[in-house]
Symmetry: C2
């Protein structure tokens, strides 16, 4: 019966036509389907389980797509996907349902989002365009309390508040970012200060509403719908609601998890291999144990950056500042300026949020802030919004920044030591995913390293692969059958190892990186050769510059993009002939 | 006597030793010196005139450099410069006193800043590092009310509020950003809501204090100094205080102005020629007059982007969102998503603040948002924090972005039409400064343009300059004595005009741009040649990748950097021989 109900309610229109008595069983069916699908394919189930009633009530009261529901991030929106005719069994897989929201997938997805804190800005823009064009319909921004640590949410609220447009904002307050939410706004939400705060920002405040009480939600959204001023509905929800393992551990399992099975009522997951994040966090912890000046800064990524153990051991030296990348970077600059040694653990895609702070507060004063740039390169199931495509170009463009690419987990101690010794801004990029095996014949150095490293050196090479990061191993494999081909691990994207690269330039060169082919390592090598007046044949292999890469399996995507051994061998043969 | 007083008080220590009765004449002397120096050399006098008493009181109560005063931006800090042993008569000039604050210039400049909204983050980092290292001293962040529209200030306040560190924040509230301040925070400051708002954020609130009443300021700062919790002092000041032309027109003259003379008590300024900003705003106004869907968005740069007349004519279609670049870009994305045609007028250096929004909210969904990227290239007296060095690399790296460089003011209508017709994200970059004369023999096209344009075409060129923007005119001059040298105005940095560039590649190529030599137009050309397997000699001329350019006269800097006709001719001869 619950499944039949879900099949019947495949559009907001069908939901609005449903007998009100069937709403609770519908919520139950949605919840079970989310749990079932996430068990099969993994996903961000915690926020979505908490938002089931909220989304059902929203779609009862507001008439999408004439009314627009703008969800922040989309972590919370699986019920919305189900109610708009999508199933979740292909979620996050190549060709399947998108990980977050995507207007190309459904007319009910009002705006794309994979990064937090954009909903209020986008919703206000949509509403203003409706006003300008004389079009009907209301606009609702739905955001989590985690998004309130982010400055952009505040910029949007402050711009909308007291303004002429009747923007609706729904705050889905589950008390959590990915970790427990931090900062003064989390404090005021917990202590009854919400009304005063949002009223100060110029919003009519409705709430707090029990976010699992359908009647209360319908009443509040109805009142918001009729309100002619900017209005905020504050709904209090429980992350992971209805799935015991998620309720019990909302940070990790409750936020997102890979596929699992329930055996005899117990959750069973494949034990995964250690990731680059794990290895970096372990290296950082070892460093913090010997150098009391080293501190870690993370924008709400304690779990994603594997920092929980480091935080447990050094609680006063691991700073989770919330979803606040700009603040994280300038805060780190202040730390460095006053003599501490900050290490900012941040995903490549989120570093984009703090680029000006990197330029203005770190690079310009040449402050020794270290960035651990996680998820650099392809991110697989997280999809287009999360690809780590731009960090090499962003970082190497700035004077005085040292940029390292990690190849093996075993060398992260050495690279961290190198970055800390750089005497100025430094970054270590490493990918999402598990650690590669150390191939036979590769010896690791300890301590501070300098320059590139030959993974395969050849006298008078016919061709050299110049690679950054684990993609060097694909280059090594590509060169296996070719005794005249060399492989150089650039290791430093900035400053480049000019001597090694000029040696490579005696033959043809193929640069290889998991980052955009526009402005990254390949371009740096081309610039060097132009400056030095050498003109070997060069090809740049990287992420394509003319399109974004959607969600899918990273290994398959590498093959498709020619970034596996076969593709690189093909490209090398093409250059040579 | 006032000048003698200034000469005596050349350090915070001397100020603290001064008889309290001499503080009012000292303030008067500071004010006169600021007016006098800005009359000679120009500068940001408005905020500084308003902050004289506030800064005197701060330096009386807090003991710099053990206590750290972190000024946001530094627009307001000329009195601080004077009180720390610097004179203003070389302000903003090559080799002279820096336009903003710079720890390399004085131990009393606690942190460098030229962009707004960073002070709270930096101050909190400095305070945490002091705590970690067991060092003495307090830390004070001083920010204007304009900085409260910026999300990063909020991120910092929310992270500090209710926290364990006794951060001091001084709000210098003059009711102004550069224009009148906007948004809900400005509203609550005007309507008595400040206490509730800052207390909600976890700060002890002191104020409002008359920011020109020394006794009141000294009392409030003294109380803040003793406070063991995060505390905010709200001081109300008058922008331009004490200089009638600035008081009367605080937006424009009161914010910053070039050198002037007072003749017979009247302000006389050299009438300057029209700038690129003026020409773009005029083109935008013409476009808005014929297309009701076109709207303008500016992050607090109505004056800087010459939009005052456009705003006066189309008040409901010019959106000043305050200093809130992230919101500005996503708001524009929302507008575009719902059918409007937004044009975001933004400086190159501030676009850096919204890079993730550009990637995630504009480029990924391929929304037709147009960016007018002002101050692209060298900015002269504004110095290192404001150089427009990175926009080409940032924009061209993103799939589907059309990036145009304007050469003449007369072609901005055509380029705007081209950008609006691009069907996706588009940007037009143009420099700070006055419009160049149209050289004889250059004909302008009307309407939508495509591809590059030969400024000087030669059959079988020995060398081609490939340039973007007005620096093409220097290339044209450099080629004058060389009949076999051609000059191509790339016009499009993305997508590149491949046919024209491959024609150029038959000889040597020198790329020329006012932007970093790392990852910009030059790199794009090198990438194209590598992809096509052509290998002409290439040199990249641009802003140096290994250092930041400080304040100075842009024309002199171009000569120094080899970006004038002489330098380019020299580089071309070097490539050829």
């Amino acid at each position: 019966m619950p499944e039949r109900l879900l099949a019947r309610v495949d559009s907001p229109k069908a939901l609005r036509a449903l007998d009100e008595a069937l709403l609770p069983p519908l919520c139950e069916a949605l919840r079970q389907e989310i749990i079932h699908a996430c068990g099969l394919v993994g996903g961000h189930l915690g926020a979505s389980l908490g938002a089931v009633e909220l989304i059902v009530a929203l779609h009862r009261v507001f008439k999408s797509p004439v009314d627009r529901l703008v969800f922040d991030v989309g972590h919370q929106a699986y019920a919305h996907k189900l109610l708009t005719g999508r199933r979740l069994d292909t979620l996050r897989q190549a060709g399947g349902v998108a990980p977050f929201l995507d207007p190309a997938e459904s007319e009910h997805d009002a705006f794309a989002a994979g990064h937090a804190c954009t909903a209020v800005s986008a919703a206000l823009g949509i509403l203003e365009a409706k006003r300008l064009g004389g079009e009907p319909g209301q606009v609702v921004a739905v955001l989590g309390d985690g998004a309130l640590t982010g400055g952009q949410s505040f910029e949007g609220l402050a711009n909308a508040g007291h303004g002429p447009l009747p923007l609706k904002v729904v705050l889905n307050d589950n008390g959590m970012s990915i970790s427990a939410n931090v900062g003064a706004v989390a404090h005021l939400l917990r202590t009854g200060g919400a009304r005063a705060f949002f009223e100060a920002l110029g919003f009519v405040y409705l709430g707090p509403v029990d976010g699992h009480d359908l009647k209360a939600l319908l009443a509040a959204f109805g009142e918001a719908r009729r309100c002619a001023k900017p209005v905020l509905v504050h709904a209090v929800t429980q992350k992971g609601r209805g799935f015991e393992p998620a309720e019990a551990d909302p940070h990790t399992r409750g936020h997102a998890m890979g596929p699992w099975e329930l055996r005899d009522g117990k959750l069973v997951r494949a034990r995964s291999r250690a990731t680059f994040s794990d290895a970096f966090a372990a290296a950082l912890e070892r460093r913090m144990a010997v150098d009391p000046k080293v501190v870690a800064v993370t924008p709400a990524m304690i779990e994603g950056s594997s920092l929980a153990a480091v935080k447990a051991r050094f609680p006063a030296r691991v700073h989770d500042v919330g979803i606040a990348e700009q603040h994280a970077v300038t805060f780190a600059a202040g730390l460095a300026h006053a003599g501490a040694k900050p290490v900012v653990c941040i995903y490549s895609t989120f570093l984009q949020r703090a680029y000006d702070q990197l330029v203005h507060d770190v690079a310009l004063p040449r402050l020794p802030v270290v960035f651990a740039v996680d998820r650099a390169g392809l991110v697989g199931a997280d999809g287009a919004t999360h690809q780590g495509a731009y960090d090499v170009g962003l970082l190497r463009a700035l004077p005085g920044v040292t940029l390292l690419g990690a190849l093996f987990g075993e060398e992260l101690d050495s690279l961290l030591e190198t970055a800390l010794a750089a005497g100025g801004p430094a970054a270590i990029r490493f990918p999402r995913g598990t650690l590669p095996d150390l191939p036979a014949g590769v010896a690791l150095e300890a301590g501070v390293v300098s320059g590139a490293r030959w993974l395969k050196r050849v006298a008078a090479p016919e061709l050299t692969f110049v690679a950054l990061g684990p993609v060097a191993l694909a280059a090594l494999e590509a060169s296996a059958a070719h005794p005249t081909w060399a492989v150089l691990d650039a290791r430093f994207a900035a400053p480049l190892d000019e001597a090694a690269l000029l040696e490579a330039a005696r033959g043809a060169v193929v640069t290889v990186e998991e980052g955009t082919e526009r402005g990254g390592l390949g371009s740096a090598v081309l610039e060097l050769f132009a400056r030095r007046g050498v003109r070997p044949p060069v090809r740049v292999a990287g992420l394509p510059g003319d399109r974004f890469i959607r969600h899918g399996e990273a290994r398959a995507q590498r093959a498709e993009l020619g970034l596996d051994a076969r593709g690189l061998e093909r490209l090398a043969l093409e250059v040579l002939g």
